[in-house]
């Protein structure tokens, strides 16, 4: 836990020094404007929940992805990746701690989206199931931190993390039903979407804003957490294999 806390503290300091990490937070109000504008133009106010949930999840995932790639890329760039990998606490813990820090920051996206809806579009968002909303936000953040370890592992091996960073966002948003539910995807793609924790989070968040009673909340929260934990376990295994390989080959900082 101390290692996790220390990594999170380090990330907060890095974000304070390099505001570039806050780009996703900066982009959030624009996404909110786009989605709320689409719904408004189409006269479909019944889809407002879809329009406000999507920007929050986009920001959260975008920040997790950005940081998991940048940890490897920037640490390698300044020549400290070997030192970080050699720390007794372990590289996966450092990655999780740092992603957790930016995930906490992405909580700002909820406030931003609410402000755009309220001030920009005069929409009052009623949270009908606040505890479900809060619990979903928390488990989603934890799941993002766990999943990020897989991505960081791949980034260690890849020639440049940017290749993956630039390609993973929208395919995931599409497959996870961040705004358009999985029921609109072709049948053969839906099981793929269900493997992504974001798809469960998106459903839970949308339902928490609707007056209808929510069912199976705890099992579904459990699935989000389980998928995040699976990400952490797989990520640690990937990281172990990758780090062993690059240590043998001497290519940890090959750039």
């Amino acid at each position: 836990m101390r290692g996790l806390r220390g990594a999170a503290r380090l990330q907060f300091q890095i974000v304070r020094a390099d505001r570039g990490y806050l780009n996703e937070i900066l982009a959030n109000p624009f996404f909110a404007i786009i989605f709320l504008g689409i719904v408004r133009a189409a006269g479909r106010r019944d889809l407002t929940a879809y329009a406000v949930v999507a920007p929050v999840l986009i920001t959260l995932w975008g920040m997790a992805l950005e940081i998991s790639g940048d940890i490897v890329d920037s640490d390698r760039g300044v020549g400290i990746l070997e030192g970080v990998v050699a720390t007794p606490v372990g590289f996966p813990t450092v990655v999780s701690g740092r992603v957790l820090a930016v995930t906490l920051l992405s909580g700002v996206a909820i406030v931003e989206t609410w402000l755009v809806a309220r001030i920009g579009f005069g929409v009052d968002i009623t949270v009908h199931h606040p505890w479900a909303l809060l619990a979903t936000v928390v488990v989603t953040g934890l799941a993002a931190a766990g999943t990020a370890v897989i991505m960081a592992g791949v980034f260690v091996l890849a020639r440049t993390a940017k290749t993956f960073q630039n390609s993973l966002n929208y395919p995931i948003f599409l497959l996870a039903g961040v705004i358009v539910p999985l029921s609109f995807l072709p049948g053969w793609l839906r099981p793929v979407g269900r493997m992504l924790f974001l798809s469960w989070s998106a459903d839970l968040l949308r339902e928490s804003l609707a007056p209808a009673a929510m069912v199976d909340v705890i099992p579904r929260l459990g699935i989000v957490l389980a998928l995040g934990a699976a990400g952490l376990v797989v990520g640690r295994a990937v990281m172990h294999v990758v780090l062993t390989r690059v240590r043998i080959l001497g290519t940890l900082s090959f750039e």
Binding site: L26, F30, R40, A41, T163, Y170, P171, V180, P181
Partner: protein, 268 residues
């Protein structure tokens, strides 16, 4: 004559070296599996919202808007080109060269025009059938020409932004990101501009893409030629304005960087 030949020669060599740099960063496979796939997914993501709305007209509106904005998105990364030069240690040399540094930097980053074009045309050709959007083959050459126009005008705005981040490297990722989002939100890409207040609509009219996209929608909807020509004229005018702004400001920003010593041989 020499006044014309020399800049063209400089542009040619700068472009050649830029394409070489691009080729050393991206192979065909990493570009296709990374950047291109991402843009196709982005277009598909926004177009699929039309299915959620339950309207074929919305699917088409969202598809065309996002396929065309892909060209602008592909170009705006050119705004970060100056920081790449700084990182590589070549920026001071380019700023000190006898010709305009803007000319060299434009040549060095001209591959972004090809990049943006490939995104947009790739989406229009590959994804239109997926979303049942019909682009009549007779109109495709005009649409192609208009996508080229939008790509070039967007590129001119990117060169202006590149000047802005010349002395502010910490903003190198933020400036193009905000520019992309502003264009996606207010230029009529996914949301008709009529949704926004009049001042926002007027400001959107000063951005590249807005009138070009209107022209493309006009061509596809069979609008009167005069309306389409008006939109084309406005897009050309806006593009020329951004180019003029780049020419006016870039040298001043480079001079300011020389004076205060912020143009250095390595990234700080």
């Amino acid at each position: 004559m020499n006044h014309l030949v020399q800049p063209l020669r400089i542009l040619r060599y700068a472009a050649l070296s830029g394409f070489q740099d691009f080729g050393s960063t991206w192979t065909l496979w990493t570009w296709a599996g990374g950047l291109f796939l991402r843009m196709m997914a982005q277009v598909a993501f926004f177009a699929s919202i039309g299915h959620l709305l339950g309207s074929d007209a919305q699917v088409e509106y969202l598809f065309i808007g996002n396929a065309v904005v892909a060209a602008a998105v592909g170009c705006l990364t050119a705004a970060t080109a100056t920081t790449w030069e700084r990182g590589a240690g070549t920026l001071p040399l380019l700023v000190a060269c006898p010709t305009s540094p803007l000319l060299v930097l434009m040549g060095r980053s001209v591959f972004f025009i090809a990049n943006g074009l490939a995104f947009s045309l790739g989406a229009l050709v590959l994804l239109a059938p997926v979303f049942d959007v019909s682009i009549p083959s007779a109109r495709f050459p005009v649409v192609f020409a208009l996508v080229v126009l939008v790509t070039v005008t967007s590129y001119f705005s990117a060169t202006f932004l590149g000047g802005l981040v010349l002395n502010a490297t910490s903003a190198r990722r933020t400036v193009p990101q905000v520019a992309r989002m502003v264009m996606m939100a207010f230029c009529g890409v996914s949301v008709p501009r009529s949704v926004f207040p009049a001042p926002v609509r007027r400001l959107a009219g000063l951005l590249p893409l807005t009138h070009g996209l209107d022209a493309i929608r006009g061509v596809l909807d069979g609008a009167a030629a005069a309306t389409v020509l008006d939109d084309i004229g406005l897009e050309v005018l806006v593009g020329a304005g951004w180019l003029a702004l780049s020419l006016l400001t870039f040298q001043r920003m480079a001079d300011a960087g020389r004076r205060d010593g912020s143009i250095v041989f390595s990234s700080a």
